[in-house]
Symmetry: C2
């Protein structure tokens, strides 16, 4: 199969977004403006050997997870997914049927959110690399920023933290584990929190971020962007019931610095917290209060742990460090 044949094979049969005017097949895709809406866009890249490996993921998961990470960014912006474009660098070592499985993984998730694949590029190279651009829409004035936290806010997080890294640990360390499929699924097929994020639309103010690098990194991002202190309480960080089977030191590492859980981290006014809980229940989303926004140090995160309060540093992934 050559480039043209491959592109034909991944083309969607039919498009789902009514605002799409022209999909794949020309020099660019065309979609219309929509009154009262803004568009949200971001790009994310996944490199074999850096972000994923064939030893812990099947090709289907590689695609699923890469698109999930991008959709999670849209969730963190309060945006509804609409379109995606995929550039793929293909090495000799990947078979056509594996490449098709990558696209099948993306398509499965895309279908869930009515997203259309509207562009792409396929080139050859030394390692498999996926670059995905997503485009979503938000009601005008309702895109959600990290810079909107205020002193007194409740800090909350969806789901449970550290599960993705626990899954990776299970996949790379032989042993007996309880509930291993749960953790492996959380690693391979994370669920972006779109319904919950869209449910928050009615709130007048909310700071929102998604947990891709670890909650330590993302709380720091909100604290810095909003120029506030965030005070977390270790006892309130939500973990799944079988998470306690892992050594304490690993639990701590994965919860705060593990990343890739693709949960949402937010801050809202005290009086909006009940509404957030109601939206969480309605969208079948676990949500936990994990701390407070306070004054004091600008751009710091403090963690209360073992009856001490210490500074929680960023220390998340930083792929460019070398």
């Amino acid at each position: 199969m050559d480039e043209f044949g491959f592109i034909d094979s991944i083309k969607q049969e039919a498009y789902m977004q009514p605002s799409l005017i022209r999909g794949i097949g020309d020099d660019g895709a065309v979609f219309s403006s929509e009154a009262g809406k803004s568009f949200v866009t971001c790009i994310d890249t996944f490199v074999e050997g850096v972000h994923f490996s064939k030893e812990t993921m099947q090709p289907f998961h590689v695609g699923y997870r890469a698109l999930a990470a991008n959709i999670s960014d849209l969730a963190a912006m309060g945006a509804e997914p609409a379109f995606y474009l995929v550039s793929i660098v293909i090495p000799q070592s990947w078979e056509m049927k594996e490449l098709s499985a990558i696209y099948a993984g993306m398509k499965e998730l895309a279908k869930k959110y009515q997203m259309d694949l509207i562009g792409g590029d396929t080139v050859s190279g030394e390692s498999l690399i996926l670059s995905i651009t997503v485009i979503g829409r938000a009601d005008k004035g309702k895109a959600r920023y990290r810079s909107d936290a205020s002193v007194g806010d409740v800090v909350f997080v969806t789901g449970t933290l550290g599960d993705s890294q626990a899954g990776l640990h299970i996949l790379t360390n032989q042993g007996e584990y309880r509930n291993s499929n749960y953790f492996i699924d959380r690693h391979r097929m994370p669920e972006p929190r779109i319904p919950f994020a869209l449910g928050l639309k009615g709130l007048s103010r909310i700071a929102l971020n998604d947990i891709s690098d670890g909650v330590a990194s993302e709380t720091n991002e909100i604290a810095e962007a909003s120029n506030v202190t965030i005070a977390l309480n270790d006892e309130e960080i939500p973990i799944s019931s079988d998470f306690v089977q892992f050594p304490k030191q690993l639990q701590h590492q994965w919860k705060y610095f593990g990343g890739e859980d693709f949960e949402l981290l937010g801050t809202v006014r005290e009086q909006d917290w009940e509404e957030v809980k109601r939206i969480a229940e309605k969208t079948n989303t676990r949500v936990s209060k994990i701390g407070r926004v306070t004054g004091g140090y600008k751009g710091h995160v403090l963690l209360k742990i073992d009856n001490k309060e210490e500074r929680l540093e960023k220390k998340g992934y930083n792929h460019l460090s070398r």
Copy 2:
């Protein structure tokens, strides 16, 4: 410099697009809908060793040319450039100052078209790879497609063909050449035909494509998408004055199959041809009639050369062939 420092260093000081609500710095960028406009988007990827090499390009050119190729796609859609997002995969072998030069090359071109850099990702990997997504806008109903050619149309092309490959030849083959800087510039810093493409706005119908893989490939794309025959005349294919210094066989190869000239190829009604010439003059663009759209074989391109008419096959680049 780490990822965060590098991203800070490439961030724009100020944004130029009035519709931009939020640029780099959150999970995604936000821009507003615009009444009466459609958005056009595409993604393109450039791999070191496949699409460029340090031996023939300085880092500045790598960035300039990669963005030019993307902007050329917007031109071919009749769209005005607005935003771009850049994902970069960085190997150990590239210095920070070279990476900065890549971004400087993109910025130089972006500034010319008032484009804002609104997103990106930086990751490490084995070879340098740039993935660029561009977003532009077109008046509603005025995006230009390959599928809009009709029997009787004049086929035209901007500029001169084959220059980019001639420049690459000069860079990779020692020798005495006339006007070598001209050809090298055409290879390293191609000029997308935005002013001319936007000037065509008033035309009710036009088929448009940009020459990235070679005019043989792109005429075939229009012929297939529009289900027509395109008949070209070799004598009318525009070449620059010093192009004749190269062996005849190379001239032929570069003109038809060389690609990367980023000129525009179009077809318009006979009665609109004068208007196209007027717009070309106004935007300081050379434009040449090179053939006709005819009936007959659907999706074929015929070339009249040396008093014979033969079929011109696609045979352009096809990066996935292996």
